[in-house]
Symmetry: none
Subunit: 433 residues, 2 copies
């Protein structure tokens, strides 16, 4: 039965969608509920009327009670967690209990699970994994390509449908994208779609950006909403329309206005990040990249190599965490370190020049700083970072940053990495003008 | 009225505590609900029976309804969000509506707010901030030293108390620590405390571990609960007792039983991770560590350097992402790469031996593999990883792993890093016997 759960729906059957997160680790505060946020975003992109979320522990009676309650006030329920093999994974059986339904084994699922685990030699006949093959008779299975626990789509009573997902975020996301999204779109959304385009900014704070676009933040269609992560600011432009093309046309003038006003700060869209954009820019120019990292200790390299295909531009790095390796591998004169300290403009500059030469690359970035929490001094406080960029035609750019001593080690390392990536991006863009 | 909400309380009045998060930004997925996690941890440390959480948007009717529902099944409700001055901040008035109560202005609060804002020149007489001074007559105020919106402690009906907090995490935390914690401890907890000890496992899956300790998972005091992340499994042992010492004594025999049965798999406790433990073991032996990374592209180095003080054992790495750098910096013979491929036992082994020599270190780990999603073949599929560990006295260990082609790039890189760290840890431990 199709029910329209869109925000502005006039469907008389329309009551809405809820999320139920299941897991005692949530109630104990062991983990943050990132799944609820991710699903909320997805429901939002479908424009569904999502008005309530609940969390309960691994307790069969409480799960049954809350599911029963939700069935009386909503049309659609998304659950996460409790699909695993251990005794405290109780979701499927507790939901079935809410509606006095029985569970039946699906042999083909058991065969699939055994196949997935074929590399192990364990005898699986008495395995607790078997539990994951039991479902109500009329439930449809949501295949789990990333793990052993499948989910289900089940309509236990007319007008109320439940979709279950594991709590492991990567499994939930894959199952959602491969199966659930289309199902929900087809059965619970009107013929409008919500389409979003996210612009990504670097080098400007969320509040500075927001103050400059107060008029845009008040718009109704499209809506414009800012979000901020460490060292990255996003603007999400969302339009409601009959087709994706029409939505894109609603978004277009706002996007163009922003691109005009903030050209220096906008580095990409949607799934782009600074690493992927830098790789793209270098690929265009058929240029290569290497690093000499000290205080970031591999995070800069790791950020670039997290992108598939990075090997086309990235050749490698020297992580010179000790002064000994700065001298032996990067040929930094001991005298220079003695005079200026390893955290200095002078040392960073020669690190960049030498690593570029040694690894035979078009571009090199070096970084030396104090990530803390110890090792700072009055003149060289925690958070002080020197970055140097060496490139073709004797190009050299030196950057000094102080990310502040209130930030922790990982924050200082992450902000340093973003600064490196964004600086080289800006150099490439200005060179090509 | 004192009600004892401790987990194992026999108080006939005891029903429990709930958290209600208020804010449309949560339902839209704009932000992650870190407040709920933080409060959960606090309630857990007080040993309170916290069994449910809810989230609703900035909608007066929905807030009233859910508060009413909670008042029928719980003794204590903690709310966050909706205390600000804007029209969509509706918490206090909606809660009052649930119990047909009126709000009254507290002049002294208004004076305080004006004082807090004295640096501004605005005329405040018609300010929307005034709203923040209105409370039910018999509510007690929770002072907000970090912002303008106070919270309240209110018992609208016998046996049901509400504490309200703003959604801004820093304000909530300060108000909790300065006022709420003591109030809740005094009025809702018995004189027992809950104390937890978490054991961390590597090299064993959550299900394999759970199957071997089904008897422990059924215990009541202490309780034993398993959790799993990518490549890491945890067991949390929690005891209830009059003092921390007594709780530790309850935990002790279970912990010892686990340590005896799983000595090979337990690598640490609580905040430990594989990097911090490996650094500790190397420090004990005054030994140094270097890496030659290919497919992990810096993630192994970055994992070690995320730990403060890692510079005492970690000297540096060569990230040899291209074959060119494998040859030039690590002196891998071109013939060897040609014959076996860069992803091979032979190349990994020489990478480890040569980087150890070149960077003058006691231990070296090398890693070469196929992180995907592309680059795999029938004989060398995505997920295939060769690890080699070179150490004193011509020690060499070669490891071949296949992490499976269904895993994504970051998962394969992360599992590879964990395998490296755990393997060297086990070698150090077995050498010292």
């Amino acid at each position: 039965m199709k029910v329209n759960l869109n925000n502005q729906s006039n469907d008389p059957q329309s009551k809405g969608v809820e999320i139920l997160s299941i897991g005692s680790e949530l109630l104990l505060g062991n983990i943050v509920n990132t799944n609820a946020q991710w699903i909320s975003e997805e429901l939002c992109s479908l424009g569904l009327n999502h008005f309530r979320q609940s969390t309960v522990g691994d307790n069969s009676k409480r799960i049954s009670t809350v599911v029963k309650e939700i069935s009386l006030r909503s049309n659609l329920l998304i659950t996460t967690g409790g699909l695993g093999p251990t005794p405290d994974d109780l979701t499927t059986e507790s939901i079935a209990k809410s509606f006095n339904a029985s569970l039946y084994k699906r042999q083909y699922l058991w065969d699939e699970i055994k196949q997935k685990l074929s590399y192990s030699n364990e005898n699986l006949d008495n395995s607790i994994l078997k539990k994951q093959c039991f479902f109500p008779n009329n439930a449809q299975i949501i295949n789990n390509p990333r793990g052993t626990a499948p989910g289900m789509i089940w309509e236990p009573i007319k007008g109320f449908t439940i979709l279950t997902f594991p709590g492991v975020p990567s499994e939930l996301k894959t199952m959602w994208q491969e199966t659930a999204f289309e199902y929900i779109k087809k059965n619970f959304s009107d013929d409008h779609i919500f389409f979003s385009n996210t612009l990504k900014f670097a080098g400007i704070s969320e509040s500075a950006l927001s103050e400059k676009i107060t008029n845009l933040l008040k718009l109704k269609n499209p809506t414009v909403a800012p979000y901020a992560n460490l060292g990255e600011v996003k603007l999400r432009i969302t339009a409601k329309a009959k087709t994706k093309l029409k939505a894109k046309n609603i978004i277009k003038p706002i996007k163009e206005e922003l691109q005009k006003g903030f050209s220096k700060f906008i580095f990409g869209e949607n799934e782009d990040n600074l690493s992927s954009i830098l790789i793209k820019e270098l690929l265009k120019r058929k240029q290569s990249l290497v690093f000499a990292e000290s205080c970031t200790g591999g995070l800069l390299s790791s950020s670039i190599t997290s992108i598939a295909g990075s090997s086309k531009v990235f050749k490698g790095s020297i992580i010179s965490y000790s002064d000994e390796i700065k001298k032996s591998l990067l040929n930094i004169p001991g005298e220079l370190i003695k005079k200026n300290g390893a955290v200095s403009k002078e040392v960073a500059e020669i690190m960049a020049i030498n690593v570029r030469k040694k690894l035979n690359s078009d571009w090199a970035i070096s970084i030396s700083g104090i990530a803390g929490p110890n090792g700072g001094s009055k003149y060289k406080p925690v958070g002080l970072v020197y970055i140097s960029i060496s490139g073709p035609n004797d190009h050299i750019t030196n950057i000094k940053k102080n990310f502040g001593s209130t930030r922790n080690r990982l924050e200082i390392q992450t902000l340093s990495v973003n600064e490196c990536l964004n600086s080289l991006r800006l150099i490439l863009l200005s060179n090509s003008k």
